[in-house]
């Protein structure tokens, strides 16, 4: 398998003396889905932002297809790597199609506007997620679940090889969470790699082939979901008692213990 993203010895700090995270090593291959779990404030979102070059590491390297991301042009980086932030806000009431079209930005020069080819790619991205009915709707007026799908369509219009999703399932209802994971699985089947953060250990079982648990700024455990999402690790990471059990032969579930 070809390595697409490699992070070596990464450390980051906002103020220069207190590290948000340190000594992080991660490598992602084609079609990998890595789910990063961990308590609030442990640096998951910060790590995602560093992977994308939005924040600069204090030490360590990040390689994308064997190229150091700090030597890459922003547009070239965006052609390979797509990112969906945890929460976002659109000031103006763009149509859904206009929002998806924004994904074409890295492929267009500073002074050009999207053309026929870009319209086709945006249309294809919208169709592939089954949201053609949203195309002419106003982005600020659709539901949170629909907006998540629109952002996924935008990131697909970017035609990247790897997606960084910061809590793609937060703010979504139960059904939309699972539907989003389904989309992620399908994208991975098509060869895309995905790195996502989540608050739900079950999401690791449902859609990932790799899990990392972050705690106090470093990776506590990393590997296959079955060996990482264990009762013991969950107790260590979150300080709560859980039961991990088999739902059927192919899948496990992680359930909190009685708390009354």
């Amino acid at each position: 398998m070809k390595k697409i993203l490699e992070i070596n010895n990464a450390s980051f700090s906002y103020n220069g003396n207190e590290n948000v995270f340190e000594d992080i090593d991660i490598s992602i291959e084609n079609s990998d889905v890595l789910c990063i779990l961990g308590p609030n404030g442990t640096g998951k979102s910060t790590l995602i932002k560093c992977m994308n070059g939005l924040l600069k590491l204090n030490s360590g390297n990040i390689f994308l297809n064997d190229e150091d991301i700090y030597n890459m042009d922003k547009a070239d980086l965006a052609k390979v790597m797509g990112y969906i932030p945890q929460s976002h806000h659109s000031t103006f009431s763009f149509s859904v199609f206009d929002v998806v079209l924004m994904g074409r930005a890295p492929h267009l020069s500073l002074t050009s506007v999207p053309g026929e080819k870009d319209f086709k790619i945006a249309d294809k991205a919208i169709e592939s997620l089954g949201i053609s009915y949203l195309k002419d709707k106003t982005y600020t007026e659709i539901s949170g679940g629909e907006r998540q799908l629109v952002l996924l369509a935008r990131v697909l219009a970017q035609e990247p090889q790897i997606l960084l999703l910061d809590e793609p399932t937060s703010h979504l209802d139960f059904g939309n969470q699972i539907r989003t994971l389904k989309v992620i699985n399908r994208l991975s089947d098509q060869g895309l790699s995905v790195v996502m953060t989540s608050h739900y250990p079950d999401h690791a079982f449902l859609s990932s082939n790799k899990v990392a648990i972050m705690k106090n700024g470093s990776i506590m455990a990393m590997g296959e979901p079955e060996s990482v999402v264990t009762e013991e690790n969950m107790q260590r990471a979150y300080g709560i008692d859980v039961k991990v059990m088999d739902v059927d032969e192919s899948r496990k579930a992680c359930i909190p213990m009685q708390i009354k």
Binding site: K49, N52, G53, L54, K74, A75, D76, L77, A78, K79, M81, G82, Y83, P85, H88, H89, S90, T91, F92, S93, F94, S95, D98, M102, G103, A105, P106, L108, L110, T111, S112, V113, P114, T138, T140, Q158
Partner: protein, 339 residues
């Protein structure tokens, strides 16, 4: 589907046709009445070798009095409107405009200072641009230095910077010669196009052309910039570069406007909202459309200014009288183009 395409085509043709019709119509009105035929012959006979029997005064009125003023009104209206819409997009803030960010007050101070020092028209423009740029940079850095609601901080910072530069302008008025310079500065600050001549228009045409071209070329990127810093960067946009281009282009346009027409408020705030109601928020269509709406609006208001009463009404007063209530109406309506 067909109806929608039809609607789009008719909106586009109206946006092109109305400013052009008003442009020619504006030659007809004024103290010296001209008939459509006189205007037609007066314009055409300059380009075509045809013999016509026109009073030389007709030529003077058309070419030296009305044309510079009509062109100036359209240029200033378009410049302030496109600056407003570009500022709103880059700062993802529907409440900003050249006046609210302090650019107009800053440019006004520079220009007043240059008038006081009896500087040449070119120097007035350069002074207006420099102080306008200083003002908008100060506002931007003030809003960046606060955490939290940057929309509000930007508006408040702009008000503070605007007040500061207005106070500097007051100092200049205080020391200006009350018989000569003071009336000139005061009348010009009120915002008026009555003293515009063809040299003025030609002088601002070049910098304005640069400003319009730069903004129109990068207009689609404003969509992405309006989604926020991180998101725009993750889409491969060099946000610093685009934002710098926008700020400089808008400041050139605003300073050029201020240096020929004084401070004309509200146009840069209200016209972007009106245009967004007509064509939607996509900057690809919005920027060209604000040029049409802005130039139409200011030419219309200036026509009213020079013909409604026997004495001329200063343009800035009338735009404020129209703009302020309209803006309150927009706020009240909870206009859905922004939230």
């Amino acid at each position: 589907m067909k109806n929608e395409i039809l609607k789009k085509i008719s909106i586009t043709s109206l946006l092109i046709a109305l400013p052009i019709l008003l442009f020619f119509g504006s030659f007809l009105i004024g103290n010296y009445p001209l008939s459509p035929l006189e205007v037609f012959l007066g314009i055409v006979s300059v380009f075509l070798p045809i013999k016509v029997n026109l009073d030389p005064a007709v030529y003077t009125v058309i070419w030296n009095i009305r044309l510079p003023r009509i062109v100036a009104a359209m240029l200033v209206g378009a410049a302030l409107s496109i600056s407003g819409v570009s500022f709103q997009g880059t700062f993802r803030n529907p409440l900003v405009s050249p006046d609210i960010l302090g650019v107009s007050a800053g440019a006004g101070f520079g220009a007043a200072l240059a008038i006081l020092l009896s500087a040449s028209p070119v120097m007035i423009q350069i002074a207006a641009f420099t102080t306008g740029l200083i003002a908008v940079s100060l506002t931007y850095f003030i809003s960046k230095s606060f955490k939290g609601d940057t929309i509000l901080m930007m508006v408040l910072g702009g008000i503070a910077i605007g007040a500061l530069f207005s106070a500097f302008t007051s100092c200049i008025k205080y020391v200006a010669d009350p018989y000569d310079k003071l009336p000139e500065i005061v009348y010009w600050l009120m915002g008026s196009l009555s003293a515009v001549n063809s040299q003025d228009v030609l002088m601002v045409a070049v910098p304005m052309f640069i400003g319009f071209t730069a903004l129109l070329l990068i207009r689609w990127r404003l969509n992405i910039l309006s989604m926020g810093e991180d998101e725009a960067q993750s889409l491969g946009v060099d946000t610093g570069k685009v934002r710098t281009i926008v700020i400089i282009a808008c400041t050139i346009l605003t300073a050029s406007s201020v240096s020929i027409s004084g401070i004309i408020g509200w146009v840069g705030l209200v016209i972007p909202h009106v245009t967004r109601m007509i064509v939607g928020p996509d900057h690809k269509k919005l920027l060209p459309a604000t040029i049409a709406v802005g130039s139409f609006f200011l030419l219309f208001v200036d026509d009213v200014c020079r013909t409604a009463t026997s004495i001329e009404i200063p343009l800035g007063i009338l735009t404020a009288i129209i703009g302020a209530p309209f803006f309150i109406y927009l706020l009240k309506k909870g206009y859905e183009g922004w939230s």
